[in-house]
Symmetry: C2
Subunit: 417 residues, 2 copies
């Protein structure tokens, strides 16, 4: 099939992304699915790099996810740190049984040998077709022979190599400081375009030159993923392969030791990391299949933050809410319905709802002052803000999604592979 | 807008449905939304009728649901039994605050007065637009004045009066026996067509002439709803108004007393009731907005029945599975994904999947003997069977859904009210 047109919600351009000292980027070709482009990313990290990761909660996770999970203690991060990340696009190596495990083992062994590190320091991720076994040792062969591998050190090329049905490459970069030392954070991501029989997978790899132990890195990533990658949804379907890895190379200028998440000199870094994670997460939503509107959903007045997040996700995953916004219809009745189905505390007679800052409902009924022309004008735009107060507490959460359009059906039903 | 075309999955015709002795059906016009048709159903039940009900679990349930819930003990059914059911179509009386409660109160008072029964014996249900208050006492006025009320005693007219965006009226009838006495069971339902700003609501009312106490009736309905109305899904969205009421009028020929669910002479009745409930539930799915395929999903090999049902619903609610079937694509990878996201026990390497009885995957990989032409032929039909063995236990469950097509988007996004 023809490539999909670039999402109308895409950022204007790929950001300027400087190198991270000590981190080498290479891309290569496996020749598996995408014959005319690089489909393999190798990220070579310096000795001493610490690592953290969060993964899909799927009960049918792919072989690469199972390997990465085994390297990461959910409380302590990667005991051995990370030296190499190997990512391929085009074959997810999911639901491939023992063949899939063998492929991961071969890749890890070849990677460890190629750069002389421990196997436990090699991370792998795969995205693409599910249920198709790769020709044996495909990736290992590229690693061993270094055939068709380009030293690129270019984040744009790296982000492009891991695309599947993405309509644009996704990157984010920011500078911050720790104890006065300049610190860089660079990240790339892919996700949310789907073509039968492919499956959208969210992958993201973030590297900083700060020196932060794996345990602190892990705590930070686990917490911040909640308000970035775990606060987005396109169609409620969970991939078998979702993987987010965060590495700290420790190659920046000298800075004070970081020993815990509560270190005050970590404050600026953390805020910047959050903005990078959120930027990448938003870019995935903006490439949601068929998306024509980017929707921010702010829920407040909930009994807990988790409750607010669940209500937000119930709204964000509701086909009726998503189609109403696609139709530029301020259908707050469907929002009430979605609040109700979340199963979380909410006071039906105190719910208030705003579109684009304009209140359309309050105290359990339509707002008598609701000006339809103002709300309609907001809904005709591409950046939609939906606020909901559920009227029972003081906690809030924000989630992001896109609308549900004919484009989604076309991509996932009409096209055949 | 023009009425939607009749669903291609509709039954050929409305069934023959004899009267239930002692039960009077009337339809009327409120003049609210549907000006040129009856939009009100009155079901008048004889003294001594016992009653049971199950309702939406929504936290933002409508005023009529809150009233009905107050009459029904989830363990014991309706203490006072039921004498009158008042159902209107066109206005859901949901998210209407104290106005909605007042409307229900007025309707109940007028109904009780009209037939000289207790207010606690009057059940109400509303379906249609959400968030719009009715003109005060609209339904009470019809009940009091008996203006525009037709004594119809015709299930077809009754089923038509409660339609909103349904493309056909839904009814089911069966005969059975208790201790040799002939027993009738008749039911009607509405649901699953949606138009902005309406919301699909599932309503169903079932009446038998058997003599069964409310407590047994309630136990039976609560249990059997799990394998009928609670085992269907169109788009995962839960209405604020879902209501299923079951009445036993006790007007059949003499039969042995029924005192508990385990009475052996209740066995035939129960099997027949289940088939009536399932028939009505299936008719709702067959009228799912935009549906072109009716999908039965059988999950087995699960650790518990509840776990099997949750896995089945995760598959049935997956937009990726539903679009794949719309596209006639045997995309079992998406089925695996949906099993994984259910969060229930499953053995990735023992999962097996069949379409139309043909195995496409086993032991965690594609079935090498999978004959694509046979499976493709099955998927081109309108009745799709998907079987999944998750490989960890001995429990099973079946759920039903429809595919997700451009028709769904058109109905819910393109049309404006």
């Amino acid at each position: 099939m023809d490539p999909l047109p670039k999402s109308p919600l895409a950022p204007e351009r790929f950001p300027d992304m400087p190198e991270i000292a000590g981190v080498e980027l290479k891309t290569g070709r496996t020749g598996m699915k995408y014959k005319d482009r690089d489909d393999l990313l190798l990220m070579h990290l310096p000795a001493g790099t610490s690592a953290a990761g969060v993964f899909t909660k799927s009960q049918t996770a792919s072989a690469p996810v199972l390997w990465c999970r085994s390297l990461i203690d959910p409380k302590g991060g990667a005991a051995e740190g990370g030296r190499l990340v190997v990512v391929n696009a085009g074959n997810a190596n999911a639901f491939t049984g023992s063949f899939g495990v063998d492929e991961v083992t071969a890749t890890v062994k070849a990677g460890a040998k190629a750069i002389a590190c421990a196997e436990e320091q090699v991370f792998v991720a795969s995205t693409g077709v599910i249920g198709e076994t790769m020709p044996p040792d495909t990736i290992a062969h590229v690693l061993t022979e270094r055939a068709a591998v380009n030293d690129t050190d270019d984040w744009f090329a790296a982000a492009k190599a891991i695309m599947t049905t993405d309509t644009y490459p996704k990157g984010a970069f920011a500078e911050t400081e720790i104890g006065g030392a300049v610190i860089k954070i660079a990240g790339i991501a892919k996700g949310s375009g789907m073509i039968a029989p492919d499956m959208a997978t969210m992958l993201s790899f973030i590297v900083t030159d700060a020196r932060i132990p794996s345990s602190v890195l892990q705590e930070m990533l686990s917490e911040d993923a909640q308000t970035s990658f775990n606060a987005i949804t396109v169609d409620s379907d969970t991939s078998t392969s979702d993987t987010v890895l965060l590495f700290a190379a420790g190659t920046a200028g000298d800075h004070p030791d970081v020993t815990s998440l509560s270190d005050t000199h970590l404050r600026a870094f953390r805020g910047t990391l959050q903005s990078v994670l959120r930027d990448l997460a938003h870019q995935i939503v903006r490439d949601g299949e068929g998306a024509t509107k980017f929707i921010e959903i702010q829920v407040r007045g909930a009994t807990t933050t988790d409750s607010a997040r669940k209500i937000g996700m119930a709204i964000a995953n509701s086909p009726l809410v998503k189609t109403a916004i696609a139709g530029e219809d301020a259908n707050w009745g469907r929002v009430v319905m979605a609040v109700g189905k979340a199963g979380e505390p909410a006071n039906r007679d105190r719910i208030a709802i705003w579109f684009g800052g304009h209140r359309v409902a309050k105290d359990g009924v339509a707002d008598p002052n609701f000006d339809e022309t103002v709300v309609d004008a907001h809904l005709k735009g591409t950046e939609i803000l939906l606020e909901v107060d559920v009227g029972v507490g003081r906690h809030a959460a924000t989630v992001w999604t896109c609308d549900l359009t004919h484009g989604y059906i076309s991509i996932n039903a009409d096209y055949r592979s």
